[in-house]
């Protein structure tokens, strides 16, 4: 099983990194860039769990460790790797 997880900043939370990259792109000659948001992307390989279990446990991992839910939100998808 492969979990693909996106962790992004919640709306309204300052994204200094996105801001810096936005400016850099504008300066580099990409005036069309109007906004940049930077988050994390994780792939987690899981073995020996059913997809229902995986569903529940990946959500738990996100809550507990992978996302800082005070300022970040997350979403994920599960894929079979058979």
């Amino acid at each position: 099983m492969l979990a693909k997880i996106h962790v992004t900043l919640k709306k309204g939370v300052l994204d200094p990194q996105g801001k810096a990259v936005h400016h850099a792109l504008n300066d580099l000659g990409y005036p069309e860039v109007e906004g940049v948001q930077i988050g994390k992307y994780m792939e987690i390989r899981l073995a020996g769990v059913t997809s229902d279990e995986a569903e529940k446990r990946v959500q738990e991992m996100c809550e507990k460790l992978l996302a800082n839910t005070v300022i970040e939100s997350y979403r994920y998808t599960l894929e079979s790797t058979e």
């Binding site: 200094p16 990194q17 810096a20 990259v21 850099a24 300066d27 580099l28 930077i38």
Partner: protein
């Protein structure tokens, strides 16, 4: 020697390099503002440590596109001396003046402490005053100091005597246990093929003041000044 210290937004060891060159070594030293486009002639340009552009995205990634960098790349390719310390090293690899990449420390943490370095080559203007295999005690202060290169490139670096400094212990032994950050081959400093560009993670400018108990950083600056 006419020296220039580049100030990127977020540079914070710029003053330290400036202080050492100008006040401790009495060299003519100038600030270079990152937004400048033309470069006067210099004998040495220092890309100082710090967090240019907050180290956002990747350390050095944005600074590498500062207006002044075009001129510096040209200057380096024409044989001009460029010393990249810490963040400066990161900028050098991002800009392609040196091979490889600097990655997050293996510990995932920032690390600030004195380490030992073994001088692998003294055939550079930066280490000419060191014995080969001499051990220097110089501090590191970085979160992204894990040097990475592909095995083929590593081989080429070794063959061309371009690995200048390796992390070691006080006796000069260098292995995984003396590696503070996960660099391949414990590499702490590398040079370009012509040896006019050096990138190093440790901070020689932090231990060059005679007032300090440790002053091995002087070997680097002594070398530079005597080979100019």
């Amino acid at each position: 020697m006419k020296c220039g210290v580049v100030v990127f937004p977020g540079s914070n060891c710029d003053h330290d390099s400036y202080h050492v060159l100008k006040h401790l070594y009495g060299q003519e030293t100038h600030w270079i503002w990152h937004k400048d486009q033309v470069l006067e002639p210099f004998d040495l340009i220092v890309l100082p440590g710090g967090f240019s552009y907050g180290d956002y995205l990747r350390p050095g990634a944005i600074a590498r596109f500062s207006p002044i960098m075009k001129a510096i790349i040209k200057y380096a390719n024409a044989g001009g001396r460029v010393l990249g310390i810490c963040n400066g090293f990161q900028i050098l690899v991002e800009s392609g003046l040196l091979p490889g990449a600097l990655r997050r420390n293996a510990s995932q943490k920032f690390i600030c402490k004195y380490v030992h370095l073994r001088v692998e080559s003294n055939q550079t203007p930066y280490t000419s005053r060191c014995e080969k295999n001499a051990v220097l005690k110089i501090p590191v202060a970085h979160a992204d100091g894990g040097y990475f290169v592909e095995p083929e490139t590593l081989k080429a670096l070794e063959d061309q005597d371009r690995i200048i400094l390796r992390y070691s212990d006080a006796a000069g032994r260098s292995d995984a246990t003396t590696n503070p950050n996960g660099s391949v081959g414990q590499i702490a400093g590398v040079a370009n093929a012509e040896k006019n560009v050096l990138g190093m993670m440790p901070h020689p400018e932090r231990c060059a003041d005679p007032l300090w108990p440790d002053r091995d950083g002087r070997y680097i600056f002594d070398s530079l000044i005597h080979s100019s």
